[in-house]
Amino acid sequence: MQRQVCMEMGAFCFHTFSERTETDMKVEGQVRIPSGCAIAAVISREGNRMTGERIINAMKPMHERSNGLGGGFAGYGIYPEYKDFYALHLFFNERAARKNCETFLKERFEIVQTEIIPTRKITSITDEPIIWRYFVAPLKSALISQQLDEKEFVVRTVMKINTEMPGSYVFSSGKNMGTFKAVGFPEDVGVFYKLDEYEGYSWTAHGRYPTNTPGWWGGAHPFTLLDYSIVHNGEISSYDANRRFIEMFGYTCTLQTDTEVITYIMDYLTRAQGLTLEEAANVIAAPFWSTIETKKDETERKKYAYLRTAFSSLLVTGPFSIVLGFRGGLMALNDRLKLRSMVVGEKDDMVFIASEETAIRTMEPAAENISAPAGGEPVIIRVKDGAF
């Protein structure tokens, strides 16, 4: 088993290689590829929509944090004309896989629009798979026969395609949002997907720095499920413990990349368990027991202790900084030791989040209130009601 660990701390990247096997070139999912990375995000609290140009530019000063083996974006509010339909973005290896998958989708959904996702031919992005999107609504009859609510039905469909249909992969499945990702540097990926032609009220972005990769497009960030998307800089030590727990609840981790499991954890805690985002943050980045003991308010102390105890298998250890995108907002969170950098800034109704202040300055030179949230303290920004 080949294993690579890339921990980007400040400017330095330490690579540790253990034994390498003869079959060096495994596909993603057979080999675990954690990543170092750059993240950035922007949101308008007023719900004003902006093109993807700004978030693409944000990635440029952080070029050295990526190595060209993965870049991606998530945009929210980009499909207003189809806002009531799930937007499924899929990669296909070949035409036959697409035909097969479309037959499967038709049995489960009303498909109101089917199209190739428009791309630009640029020399820096090559070997693209077949990339399509479908705007769909679950068939009432299918929901009734399976006794599932709509979201659970979509989740199970995504899991089924991604685990049982080789050559087909759903990489985005939310409403009025979409993920765009590829093998390449993020600034090139944004140009490839023509993100300058989309308008959203929030955007997240990621540049990936794995030490080695089979170069599969699905392995790039963001990782999404329904309206949730995650971009992540770090290396999660608790991946297997988290994965074993979350797989008991119908989620299947197909990629063995740590970010995928965080996406499913957030979906499980908030959608299935009904926790607030703040509570979910206190599960995955739970304070130390010694810190909980110092809380003066007893109710607060009991709450932290309860969250740590009830969901102990979902404590995420190891370095991470993440931005979670959701319908109407963003949440930024560092691991409790804050082993990765993350900076937040503001200007008027806009809020900016990035691995480096320079990314924020590129988006808004006059950004104010630059601050670095403490480890384990979530920063949640919501668009005002009704504006998305």
Partner: protein, 239 residues
């Protein structure tokens, strides 16, 4: 010499800096890393936010930043002076073994970790605002001063300061009743002899950033030192 950093890579900028000694003014800086790394004999002023590892392995040069700076400022620096007219990110002065870092505002997590000293070579870091968690973790030498100016009710340092500290000194302006230190260090109120030790550093800070020395010193200081020369001898094995 003025260097316009716009559309220049860190390599290009550092190459210009290496070609001659003297004064440089870098304008339009935005994220270029490693600026001034390993350099001596130069005075470099930077407008804009420089990238990570500013002045890493610095060997005598002076660097002034008229903005915030990011992570790993002065990483393993040996000599020279870094002045930041703003705040700095995480891991400033990591393993520094000489020279001085002055920060007008706040420092992020892990400032001054692994600082060390040898004989006359004593690194100094003065943070004007507040510092994040793990300040001076594994500090083995040198002097860290945190003034807490403009703290507006925030703690002067986050959690777990001085963890694993086994050398050097840390000075925190204030009584620090709300700060939990590990059992292997001693935190006590600084006496006059202690304050005399940092008067020069604080005076430099005040001269750089324009504040009154007497007002800054007119407050109780807490000084933190390791308990003995080998406070951790029983932690893993007897050594």
């Amino acid at each position: 010499m003025v260097i316009d950093a716009t559309n220049r890579s860190y390599r290009a900028i550092n190459n210009i800096l290496r070609q001659s000694e003297g004064k440089f003014h870098i304008i339009g800086c935005c994220g270029q890393r490693f600026l001034g790394a390993g350099m001596s004999g130069r005075a470099i002023t930077i407008d804009g936010v420089p990238g990570n590892a500013l002045g890493a392995y610095l060997d005598g040069a002076g660097i002034t930043v008229n903005a915030n700076a990011q992570d790993a400022v002065g990483d393993t620096m040996n000599d020279g002076e870094i002045v930041i007219h703003g705040s700095i990110g995480d891991a400033a002065g990591y393993a520094m073994r000489g020279g001085r870092i002055f920060v007008k505002g706040d420092a992020g997590y892990r400032a001054g970790i692994h600082m060390k000293e040898y004989e006359g070579k004593v690194p100094v870091m003065v943070i004007g605002g507040v510092a994040g968690s793990f300040l001076g973790e594994y500090q083995a030498g040198g002097v860290i001063v945190v003034l807490g100016l403009g703290s507006a009710g925030r703690r002067i340092v986050g959690r777990f300061p001085c963890t694993g500290m086994h050398g050097g000194k840390m000075f925190l302006r204030g009584a620090c009743g709300n700060i939990a230190f590990p059992p292997q260090v001693t935190a006590r109120t600084a006496d006059e002899a202690d304050l005399e030790e940092i008067r020069g550093y604080v005076s430099s800070y005040c001269a750089l950033f324009g504040c009154r020395l007497q007002e800054v010193l007119d407050a109780p200081f807490t000084v933190v030192t390791p308990d003995s020369k080998n406070p951790y001898q029983q932690m893993y094995v007897a050594n």
